[in-house]
Symmetry: D2
Subunit: 138 residues, 4 copies
């Protein structure tokens, strides 16, 4: 179990007013939560630089009519199956599929998989989202 610590920070009045306007616009109901989010975002960026195990998602958009693309994507995913947790598939329209692959592993492993998928012919778009396992962000 982890305990909560309270400490004070000092801020220029004008800066605080701008910050309060920003976070209220984003739907925050208190400053602590907004500041915690800023802090966690910095820590997640660092996790990805550190080489420790992280979680993330790879989003693909592709035309499933492209010859042999399904087979190719399946082959690539099997070659990297140890970092893949689960996949979700959406039929955007008659041609376009959106697939989200949830991954967990070292940044290097994940980036290698993401770049292999992006390089497959017929994949129109691929992006890697850097998330976190949450373990160090209690």
């Amino acid at each position: 179990m982890s305990s909560v610590i309270r400490f004070g920070i000092s801020l220029d009045k004008n800066l605080l007013e701008s910050f309060d306007a920003l976070i209220s616009d984003r739907g925050y109901t208190n400053r602590s939560e907004a500041l915690r989010d800023l802090i966690r975002d910095e820590l997640v960026r660092r996790e990805w630089l550190s080489g420790d195990v992280v979680a993330g998602t790879i989003t693909l958009v592709y035309d499933h009519h492209t010859r042999e693309l399904n087979a190719r994507l399946t082959e690539i995913q099997h070659n990297h199956h140890s970092v893949i947790i689960a996949t979700q598939h959406i039929h955007l329209d008659h041609h376009n599929c959106l697939e989200v692959i949830v991954v967990q592993g070292t940044p290097q492993e994940i980036e290698k998989l993401a770049s292999r998928l992006k390089a497959a012919r017929g994949v129109k778009h691929s992006s890697l989202t850097m998330a976190t396992t949450g373990k160090n962000l209690l």
Copy 2:
């Protein structure tokens, strides 16, 4: 149906060698596909600036033990149900959940939903991935 056009580009020899090394390292087997990916990435960035309908994913990591968080996340998603296509949920460990929400709508609507979810107390990490409906990226 769309037809394929072939045209020539001229590149300095050294620049071409660096590019060939880069794309081979990323798993591309031909230059056209690598160049198409660079072009599509630029077009997707523009789609998100233009205000047209786009697709994307919102990735959340949260501790499902946080009091009332599940109810809050469900409520927010229902308030924005028209932009949500589907959700996938992963149990990362005893505490941490990773949830991927596939969305389609205007960038403004999507960003509003993403910022509401991020602001919910107990959400440790939230990121918005800008993908595409693929319609204009034949």
Copy 3:
């Protein structure tokens, strides 16, 4: 003149320890200054979205031997002189120049200038840095 306000924020002990390690590594000597920097970064991002007057820098790297490039860059800058404050020029080596153009204006004007400069033949690299006039970041 602006006054300083002090308020409390509550943070999980583990999260605070990670944050303290991060900021000490970056050379911060107190948490308030680190948190102020996170807040200001968010506010600067918003300034660039709001359309208000901002400041920034455009960094160019180019080979000054490219035929007519100097004339072209000068022409572009004169066409947008109202947003340019000053320029600094560095001779990186026999071929390569690095030029930093300090700009102030609306994001739209600045982005238009940056994209014109980038498009000039012979410009090897161009990047736009989003800074601030500092007026709203007291």
Copy 4:
């Protein structure tokens, strides 16, 4: 000297039309130059990951009235003088200064300097722009 190589790429007609519209809007007069810029941007991103010598700029905005800030910034820059090429200073208004520091060195050295400067009390904004020495982008 480096020679120019010409090769063909094939693109779907619709994709090519979108690309042509995008680059004409950005001020490009031919496709080759636009594609070269996309390629170089990828190569510069890789340079920064590779650890080789790169060039860049650090942009600071600060209130020069902050007690001892000038002395502190000068001290930090002297501690890292080997990576600093030149500095330009702009008086934005009565309070705010914008300073651009042109740097050359390994990404690690440059990022350390940038993070020290950002951490100094009174610096309102600091951003690091990743540019290039241009040597490998002939």
